[in-house]
Symmetry: D3
Subunit: 334 residues, 6 copies
């Protein structure tokens, strides 16, 4: 089986239990995550063979992170070590109208040390058939941008399929690079675009609306600008409040526009990493199904992720398929 | 006061906290349960005098199970010991569209040792006025079937009222007995049938639909086939998803068809044992009220059970009555 | 900055986790609270300078209570000690149609020791610009009533604004004083009335309905009876069940009747202290905004409180304002 | 089998985990206990038939206490209810040179309500063969003293063996009765004296030293003063610090002075209730063995109790016997 | 690097926290273990490349076990699945003179399904350079014995070094095979004997004492009887009580008798798996050091294991070496 | 009352429960600490008025740190905010021969932002009578060194007593400054030296041994070199292993050499911050007692700290005095 390659920062997530604030307790739970790792682990849970590339701390926290990744069967053989500490984020989980809050401690993390010389891309991509990147990595440091770009160039050379989730997060991008230019540079090497109007407008400098019509036009303009891009998938979230969301998706693959039905998530357990679950579902789905079913798989995976604590999606492929088949009434599985 | 007798396996339930999977934690909570025990404990919480008959392990887990049962004032004086381990089930609690999952470790449990010779039915039923059985017990082993049947024969002789909840679970019934024949054999000794279209179709080999009309016809055919059966009570669950259910009930007592209003359970805490809470509510209700109010009591008990963790219903009779009287807005009780 | 003064019992709240009953666990979480302290802490969280006046136990529990209060920056310099134990309340948190239950252990608590001689009101009010009292304190003991009254008399002399939340709780008032007369005596010194039809009817002996028309008439009659009262604010709760509430408010300030929109609290985390959060929001709001915005601030504060565990509202002013501005979709704050 | 009767307050014990102070956590664990109940439960764990007599609160805390007692098979049929709250004690567990600290909330507890009219001693003692009391009960209230005395008078009439553990705790005895006179009044009805030099000096007004010689003389003088007393048992604790104790015992039964070997408790888990475990061991032992072996059983039971969290001794008779037989190396039991 | 192969049952260990009994809590912690797996994981933690061979359940518990094993980098590629449940053991951890108690639920576990046909030994041993077995596996079922034997025969053929820890546990061996004969049959294929006087006496039918002289003679007789055995290593535990042990070791390698110094374990954290840590230390040590240093490494590894919760030893090789070098004062590592 | 001023980094400490490694759990407990803050809080617990000066993060973690500090009544009015994250340290607690391990994440923390311009020393020291510094602060950054030095210069001008705990930690000091020179520069402003042979040798470039004779000579040379230094106090720790320590102290005050008795800490609960507890005890003691009693107070405070979890000493002055008076047997305080 061929490998899916993900590349990005591994973060330790620390949060008090339930809806508590840090002020209310002296106990916290921790998980590991990071947007690209979340995608990788989720694909491994669907049965894919995955390798994650990163730089972690050379201490017992870094060891714990590696153990966490190995647990899911994701290969850690291309993960390097740094004497800087692992990146951390603190999370206070909101409810109803109270938003969740995140505070990052990542600007001098072990991953911020990454430089092209630290990753042996040739070895890392040797068995790769798919490479996934997101807009978080190039937003961190020049070294991260360069390292990612080097990987993408090689992936293109090797004919590896590249998916891009160019999420634009304005709180990052502090090292001087212009986000728009950076993302454009990287999108040239990408085949699958996972993102919506916001990301397209950011990259193209346009101001399309959220309507389906505009989505179609925006996607077409995107595909004209970046000829390597073959398909655009957009996840649409409707939030009643922190505890109640709906998820649907739409797509343009150059031929066909499709939209999926809303999945109603009446009692959100954990919202983190749900976009990553969508991306993972899509990557898995596109390897096994037609585009529309892949998008359904992605939507169902995304919806299911809202029911698991932590950053990663624990659902296996069979469980996702069951949602697509309409088994959403939560009947016991014995 | 006269005793309600229940007979069946005691299981240890082990599950991670909240909606976690076993993979996500190294901490679990445990309770004890088992469908017939759940009924017994629930009736004891309503104020009934209850004796549970079973076989538990001869170790500190068996002792813990006995302590758990005694806590509710249920008599353990007819519980026997086996050198086999207590049955266990592992539970991962779902949410929204994610179903809960159960994995059993019961096929060579202490209760699987049960044989007619281990239960002194004469002593066990001495003070009994009501005997409750379910379709789980005869599905486990020939010994369990035989022991139950011996108890039912004696109960009938003594004029003890017998209620049957012949839940058919296809994952059991592995010892060779035909489920349909077995249940028919046991239903001859029963007076109250707690079950719906699925169970009636299973026993009669019919294919009635879920409509009220068909329920009526099915119940009548059932009562013709088993003349001892005087009343049929059916609980109807509507599941939006794992976290949001509605419960109502309907009945045919040979004279009158009645249906209760839906009770809306917008935030399910724990779904396990809610059917047992219905049965317990019915048994308690039929001893104190008319058939319709008994059914209302059963429905309200069932709905309330969804708000308690664990297998058993902690509500007392006053709390159930309060629901029937319309106090569902959750106003503080100080 | 000038001080807001609150006076009342500090209670230790003890409850099992989640929706468990005490019977289901041997672990409990504890917080401290008390209706007036909740108001004080909440105002401190909005940025106000607050002093709480009380009597706590002279042991490690009393020390823990003081540490808890100090954590929020509320001054404890006027809190006295008693050799009696701190008041405690035990809480079992309900869900859906199951009501929460509270059992108090406060009748011989350290606060029940309070006598006018124990509080140096002159010192306590020195920097005060606002004094808040509720109907709980005068309901406890003659000493509590007398002490409160002495404080109110002095507050009036000093021109300090007085807000009253004359909640009437029938389970209290055991020391012989007539509640109606007691509350009337104290309302003479008050400027802001935080309460609704029930409280007005109790105090005036009237039987107004819950309609807006009646609210208007009742408020006017109240203000005629107690000329010091300038404004009346009423919080209206609509409970679908224990887990799903809606909150709105209405006001009469002698000039203008206004009503706010319902805020939909689809997943209640903790309902305790939500009325106190409303009062705190109002006191804060009236010092910074016009009456209507103050009422909106109070409603939003009240709604937000339902998302925090414990008795007190952890929201800061900016977070409350964000709700008023319509940010209720729970988008992450990074 | 005949019943052992214990009479005394049931207390809820609340303490943070491990060695934490209440200031350091918002989580506590709770157990139930009370010196006489501890004795009763411990005897039940040795296989005895026990009834505990008390007054508990008429709320969910009282119900939880009853459930706790029933768990051990101790009869609660003579426990009455009061509208006052159950007594509570808060515990901070020390270590090494840090002493454990206890704060009581019991002076207006449900048990403080007890009056002779509340206990039907005739019914309570009907099956009794042994009655155990301690110096805590008569120290609480006049009603507790009177109720206990009435029970002792009837016990003597019925020829029931009475054991007394007249622990003198100076922090109690606040209701006016002179401790010395009260204890003397009650010792007249007692057969077994469980206590040492401190208790004898307190009761006789003597000043014997801790030497074995003095113990012998003191015991003889005690038995002369109270002719009903047949045997005196004294537990001797040597504390290196909070975490390391040694236990031995000595006795005088009118004929023979014996002393047991020190049992070395190198890692104390929980020191509460270890004296009660000694008393329970003695009561059990005296019914089955000679006086010396009974004392050994008591010492071993006491030592074992230091290894269980909570107030009660979970060891069964077989486990205690194993210690007497020298199995103290902690070899696994599989 | 070449692989160390371990073969044996994977058990889920479930125990309450600290020194609690199951009766005292409804919370448990769980780990996975099993004597051979413990050895394998421990060697992986020393840096070895390890593959574990077993049969686990085909459910979420089996998946969790696999994730646990993968966490340590141990290969699970030769682990098979069974529809039977994973074996479980329940543990109550003792203290001081209270022994720990274990109750097993393994007699019909997934591993009890194992048959030679389920293990592809040729594939499993392909990269193997060392094979470790214990006396637990052949004691379980005929299938386990046969499968193990088949593996040993092949290992011998391939010139793989075989270590044997023929622990004799009398509570097992229920399937009819004579333990002595079985162990003899298997020892023929073994090169390193990890065990002491008890095991040698069991196998040879001798009655050597624990003296060093007898150890020497016993080892020599063992090596005469089983010519493949080249070295005998014996771990000696001195238990003051459950909480305080000392560990030393001795060896005979045909040339030299050596004994190591006692390591004083004054505060035992977890005693389970300490023998496995010794075996793992030895296997690792014999590959890197001379026999005496290997034995020192094994003793230090064993001692360190007493400081980790769970079945497995988390120490890495550097940490073990540090103990051998005398760093036992517990100075911080920053 | 006059203020004690402390200045230094506030760190969040995160560690798994008990002796677990991060790999073994997904739950951690957190406290706040930092060597100078620990001293400040400990003095506040002795009844002193304390102000801590620092820079914390401008997020919910910084807020939580402030709340933590306020809890103890320590003034936070001179604490500033930075947009960098709060420093964190991860801790794995060892046992017996296993050392505890610490991993820091502090090199780009909010405190690393500190510059002289951020601290208004004039305001900060206004009410100060004592200033305490340690060798950690100047080891962090040039800004921290400069800020500290500015404070010391002003303290000297104002005649404030300065105590120095010039702990030398070689893992720090990465910004270029020579540790020896830096410490010398700062010691000029100091009156009380808290440290031993290691620190003196480091500062003077000498190689005194640990003998009392050498301690005397070293102290004298130190006092000659730094004429402002009046007294030298040295804490001596003897570690059997991670779980068992002994503490004593010695002093030279220019007139008198004294040494205290060993305090035996047989069961260490938490070793972190014990040196800080010594310093705090000394500062408190020197303000109330003669030098020898101050040293005894410091030793007892240090010993007691080993019994509290977390970084700070919770003991009050009365509890420390009780240890000096010989009450080390851990008798209950009720």
């Amino acid at each position: 089986m061929e490998q899916i390659i993900t590349f990005g920062e591994v973060l330790m997530r620390i949060s008090p239990r339930g809806n508590k604030k840090f002020m209310q307790s002296n106990i916290a739970e921790f998980y590991f995550g990071g947007t690209e790792l979340n995608v990788g682990i989720s694909i491994a849970n669907f049965g894919g063979k995955v390798k994650h590339i990163s730089v972690v701390s050379n201490d017992f926290i870094g060891e714990t992170a590696l153990a966490y990744i190995r647990k899911f069967g994701v290969s850690t053989s291309s993960i390097e070590f740094s004497s800087r500490p692992l990146g951390v984020y603190f999370l206070e989980v909101g409810a109803v109208m109270r938003p969740s809050k995140i505070s990052y401690n990542r600007s001098h993390s072990s991953f911020s040390d990454v430089e092209p010389s630290m990753v042996d891309w040739d070895k890392a991509l040797r068995k790769g058939s798919w490479f996934h990147w997101t807009g978080i990595t190039p937003a961190l440091t020049q070294g991260a941008f360069d390292t990612l770009k080097e990987g993408l160039v090689l992936a293109k050379e090797k004919g590896i399929t590249v998916s891009a989730d160019p999420t634009y997060r304005s709180g990052l991008w502090k090292y001087g690079k212009d986000p728009k230019e950076a993302l454009k540079e990287l999108l040239q090497y990408s085949n699958i675009f996972i993102g919506g109007i916001n990301e397209i407008n950011e990259v193209l400098g346009t101001d399309y609306s959220y309507s389906n019509d505009d989505f179609l036009k925006a996607s077409q303009q995107l595909m004209e600008t970046f000829p390597s891009i073959e398909k655009v998938f957009d996840k649409i979230r409707t939030s009643l409040n922190s505890s109640w969301h709906k998820i649907r998706a739409r797509m343009w693959n150059g031929v066909e526009f499709r939209e999926s039905e809303d999945l109603d998530i009446t009692h959100v357990v954990d919202r983190i990493g749900t976009g990553d679950a969508f991306a993972a579902g899509l990557i898995h789905g596109l390897q096994k199904y037609d585009d529309f079913k892949a998008m359904q798989f992605a939507s169902a995976a995304c919806a299911l992720k809202h029911t698991y604590e932590g950053d990663v999606n624990y659902a296996n492929a069979e469980e996702v398929i069951s949602i697509i088949e309409g088994n959403v009434s939560g009947r016991f599985v014995r």
